[in-house]
Symmetry: C2
Subunit: 377 residues, 2 copies
């Protein structure tokens, strides 16, 4: 039987060693407290290296899909009426602003939505003056806008981070689809709340979310000490603090298998070499774009803005997306569809984590080429 | 190497067939929508049989630890100032009331806390008059109070459910530690919001929570349509409604492996025969209590109130819990400790799910007997 080729922008298929971790029972985090904490710390330590996490930041891993972390970053810091600036390029940027608005925050949007990517030369000055003028409590930004396949420039991230630091607001960055596939330096970027998911570049099941919080972010969380609920962060504060010496009882029974799976995935990235991992993503993405344009398809955005983890491609006028995807499915090839204003117009080839492989992308583009050339006959 | 014998009140060790499900990648719930929905529906259907779920109720499965469901049941139904009656026998009963209070609800407590179990003859009349007099929006109750090892009588559950129905309030029942090990009839008990976890009698990883909601509960959820956050239930409404005919896109990427694991666990319970499963739990619990009293230990509560899933035992005056548990650990035997007012005074033998086996309980009690008799020499 031919195997399915998933080229989705997540969930990506875990490798066998990671799957083996899920297939084991490690015990209870409430009983063998130290043994669990050791696995937790090992995973956090590897994340510290991967993302250049400053010493005074903490790593919170929560049981649940990535969205729980995205919500936690907002619900623990915002109160009704708080000013939020939502950087809105691509659809997730707007989505996060809408989530904040749903919590009663006073949200302003900066950006062009799906129509164009965030550009340092073009937008920085405007963004800077916007932040200075409205003095928000929180600036939200999406590092990799998966639907449009775009990535925010490292230098721009640093400019925004430094400005947030200067004006004393929190910098909230969704890195769900970039962390582990793109070089990130949280220390240099001064990100206060970094949000990560498991099922993208880490190639894990969709069962864990990760938040990295600076001391500055914790201070705001502590001001909201009445915040309750599953996504309350304060109950995690002590147990994730490297200097805490008490018994490390987490707010609920942790999914030990998923923490070991994360540790295994991060160990593999480290063994490959983080730089080599990033280069693999860059190479595969470039190869993907080259092949895509060679077969006559158009990228959704210019090369400079393309994420190394996912490529967004215009659906050609000769075929409907529904027909194209059903032809692809016959060949057991699966690309990502799109949502909102890009639905039916733009599709995605995900090449993140275990999917960042030339041969896998080639299989996908070969099938695409075959289907499109058949249509032309 | 001798194998560890876990006799915890959760997490319980998944059997190999369930572990194998976690060790597989099934794809994306956002892509192969129908195939995922089929697995979801299969699991829901098995739950319908197991718990006698009425036709007009829906089954919501969320990614995360059991606490997310417990919170969701409260956050989606309560607004600040809403009256809640928290049935407080054992420590979890009080805990749920405190969670509701943390959301701004006006909470009254009924009960004796850890000091005695809920008794139909003794407490029903008082409880009835309390509910009638305060007319709460929500009555919360814990079916199996894991810390004290007690279970609420089936008839009492039905009396409370019928009364809640009569006075028009919602009946919220935490069944995390009983569902799958104790006979439950949600239809007869008129439970509006039943909360279940994965790591107890279902013997799964702690990565999924289940809510069963009646139409009456959904109406209240719909009145709170502005409720946002990871635990918002309304985004699940359509996709879990058996009559919904649209595309079933869940609010986030589901953990497909965990749904298949749940389906596998439920299939095993069905194949064994639900009645036989309950009898196995009853028999093992009775055997456990007999052996415990025979070796001179005292149960925390009288036999009539004991849960078939967990036995709570007084720590004997001859030894400290810390010493007892460390001696047990040397023999690779793990019992559950306790928290709050019962910490150090009462410990637990969990015999739920895959742990509801005579030979396993015997290993645990043998070790206990050996340690205690050594101490007497």
């Amino acid at each position: 039987m031919e195997q399915k080729v998933y080229l989705l922008p997540g969930p990506t298929k875990p490798c066998q060693a990671v799957l083996d971790c899920y297939g084991q029972f490690y015990g209870s985090s409430d009983l063998e407290v130290d043994a669990f904490a050791q696995d937790y710390d090992d995973a956090a330590c590897l994340l510290r290296e991967l993302l250049t996490i400053p010493q005074d930041s903490s790593v919170v891993m929560m049981s649940g899909e990535g969205m729980v972390g995205l919500w936690a970053g907002l619900t623990n810091t915002l109160r009704p009426g708080d000013k939020v600036l939502s950087v809105n390029f691509g659809s997730y940027g707007k989505g996060i602003g809408d989530m904040a608005a749903g919590l009663g925050a006073d949200v302003e949007y900066f950006g062009e939505g799906d129509t164009e990517p965030l550009d340092r030369n073009k937008h920085w000055k405007q963004l800077e003056s916007k932040i200075r003028s409205i003095q928000p409590k929180l600036v939200t930004l999406v590092h990799c806008e998966t639907p449009s396949g775009t990535i925010v420039d490292h230098d721009l991230l640093e400019l925004v981070g430094n400005l947030c630091d200067e004006v004393g607001c929190l910098f909230y960055v969704d890195m769900v689809s970039s962390a582990g596939g793109v070089c990130i330096d949280l220390s240099a970027n001064k990100v206060d709340i970094a949000l990560l998911g498991s099922q993208k570049c880490f190639s894990l099941h969709s069962d864990i979310t990760i938040l990295v919080l600076t001391e500055k972010a914790w201070k705001v969380v502590e001001e909201n000490k009445d915040k309750s609920g599953y996504d309350a962060l304060l109950p995690f504060k002590n147990v994730v603090d490297p200097t805490f010496s008490g018994e490390r009882l987490f707010p609920y029974t942790m999914n030990w298998s998923s923490i070991v799976a994360l540790k295994e995935s991060l160990t593999q990235l480290k063994n490959e070499g983080f730089d080599k991992v990033y280069q693999r993503h860059i190479d595969v993405a470039e190869h993907c774009r080259n092949r895509i344009t060679k077969i006559g398809l158009e990228l959704h955005v210019e090369e400079d803005y393309c994420s190394p983890t996912v490529t967004a491609i215009k659906v050609p006028p000769t075929i409907k997306w529904e027909d194209l995807s059903s032809e692809l499915a016959k060949k057991q090839i699966y690309f990502g569809r799109n949502y909102g204003t890009l639905a039916g117009k733009v599709f995605r080839i995900g090449h993140m984590g275990t999917q960042a492989q030339l041969h896998q992308v080639n299989k996908g583009v070969d099938a695409l080429e075959e289907i499109l050339s058949c249509g032309q006959q």
